[in-house]
């Protein structure tokens, strides 16, 4: 036990500081990917709910394709092809030279685009769950579009979307581990390097387990708290006896 603590601790031979940095990296890339996912998800939901058939088809294509393909392939696409694509795009726009994507950006984009497909469904479902009457009432009192969006639509959609959004966050956190194939110094990569460099691989992987469990558990608390807040004003259904 003592040797384990020395291994992952913050002493001279300890991996503690690398693991801490790696955890921060996991959180950052996950946050960036999640934000990206929200952008794509909002666009996707908007497309699916829009009147234009083309927009609906495009959004449908996006979600079906992305949800049916392994995330690893998407990461490979951006990792191997991202720089190529970006450079080609830049050349089209008249810029020469090499435009590269670093590992962080690869991870953000790849995981973000995948998360966006799931967020599309979450946001679309949440929007449809808002009783139409509440929107009508807002229009009836003369609220402008922007005001209605901000004061009525946004909070109400959020209330229905939160559980799904929490699930997508958990998904993103775990998918960030796949970004390790690009060499990004997040948790799994550091754990893997540590495991390979000592004769105690199991100890490292178990530590990795605990780190991720800490992150997902803490996230769970935060989201459940947010859900509780978002349910304010609603009648609580008393639990039914099984």
């Amino acid at each position: 036990m003592a040797s384990y603590l020395r291994l992952i601790g913050f002493g001279p031979t300890g991996w503690g500081d690398q693991l801490l940095l790696a955890a921060l990296m996991t959180l950052s890339v996950s946050a960036a990917a999640y934000a990206t996912g929200l952008v794509f998800g909002t666009l996707g939901a908007w497309g699916k709910l829009s009147g234009s058939v083309a927009a609906r088809r495009a959004a449908e294509f996006y979600t079906t394709v992305v949800r049916g393909i392994p995330e690893l392939l998407v990461i490979y696409l951006f990792y191997f092809g991202g720089s190529q694509g970006l450079t080609a795009l830049a050349r089209l726009l008249g810029q020469s030279g090499f435009w590269g994507l670093n590992a962080f950006m690869v991870g953000t984009l790849a995981v973000g685009i995948v998360a966006g497909a799931y967020q599309t469904e979450v946001l679309r479902g949440a929007y449809l769950a808002v009783p139409a009457g509440e929107i009508e009432a807002a229009r009836a009192v003369g609220m402008g579009r922007l005001l209605m969006l901000r004061r009525i639509l946004f909070p109400r959609v959020l209330r229905f979307a939160l559980p799904g959004m929490g699930n997508v966050w958990q998904q993103v956190l775990k998918e960030s581990a796949l970004i390790s194939v690009t060499g990004l110094a997040e948790i799994l990569r550091e754990i893997h390097i540590g495991a390979g460099s000592t004769d105690r691989p199991f100890d490292f992987y178990i530590t990795g387990f605990m780190l991720y469990l800490l992150l997902t558990t803490f996230s769970g608390f935060v989201f459940r708290g947010a859900e509780g807040w978002s349910l304010k004003g609603e009648r609580q259904v008393v639990g039914m006896r099984a």
């Binding site: 049916g68 393909i69 958990q170 581990a177």
Partner: protein, 229 residues
């Protein structure tokens, strides 16, 4: 976008389909059996419930890739594993992947089946009890058939998720579809074209599987179809 390259890539990727399907079906099959056991255990004994919840928590809260690494790279740390009965299996990436995938899908599966168990109408169970059924007979004839029918759609989603999960086996050297895709990309650097081929292949597999599950659902639930259908 060279049609010849695309065709050639497709042929190469098809060689990985059997392994992808093998990994999927063996792990989902074993995982489903384990999931039923876990769900029943959770519903019966208090300590069982606690153990199952811990198991599900640990496996759903951590990345599958980490679980694969733990089994493939981590277990070798222990002498009793290296000298044990199972070592011939545990040193092979295929069986490590199967083990990791099975344990993972069992965690999600047990939650799905738990939902199915909870959806069984209490009245149906009462009617069975009052006819003298209990224990295994009750589970086998009434509870499980109704629970499984309810759980089918969600389990269909889990099957699709597992097909995608098998791609992680490529990271421990298995040459299923993603493994071959990676090899081609790192040789030719034509990421987009390989992505399109591999993606299309996965989409096709998932589409066919979803159809099969839908057909199974229809076959098992004539009681949910419209009358006279």
């Amino acid at each position: 976008m060279h049609p010849l390259f695309l065709a050639d890539t497709m042929v190469k990727l098809l060689a990985g389909v059997p392994l992808t399907l093998e990994l999927t079906f063996i792990s989902v099959g074993l995982g489903a059996c384990l999931a039923v056991l876990l769900a029943v255990l959770r519903a019966s004994v208090a300590i069982g419930a606690w153990l199952v919840r811990l198991y599900v928590f640990a496996l759903r809260g951590t990345p599958l890739l980490l679980q694969i690494f733990l089994i493939y790279y981590g277990l070798g740390q222990f002498a009793f594993v290296r000298h044990g009965l199972l070592w011939p299996f545990l040193r092979q990436p295929f069986w490590c992947a199967i083990l990791a995938l099975t344990l993972n899908t069992a965690a999600y599966g047990s939650e799905i089946i738990r939902g199915g168990l909870q959806s069984v109408p209490p009245g149906a169970i009462e009617a069975a009890r009052v006819s003298g059924m209990s224990g295994i007979l009750l589970y086998r004839r009434i509870i499980l058939p109704l629970a499984i029918r309810q759980a089918l759609p969600a389990y269909g989603n889990e099957l699709v998720a597992m097909v995608k999960a098998t791609s992680l086996a490529s990271i421990v050297t298995l040459m299923e579809i993603s493994g071959i895709a990676y090899a081609i990309i790192s040789e030719t650097y034509r990421a987009l074209e390989v992505f399109i081929c591999a993606g299309a292949l996965y989409l096709l597999i998932n589409f066919l599987l979803s159809r099969a599950v839908a057909a199974l659902e229809a076959w098992l639930t004539p009681h949910l179809r419209r009358a006279g259908a």
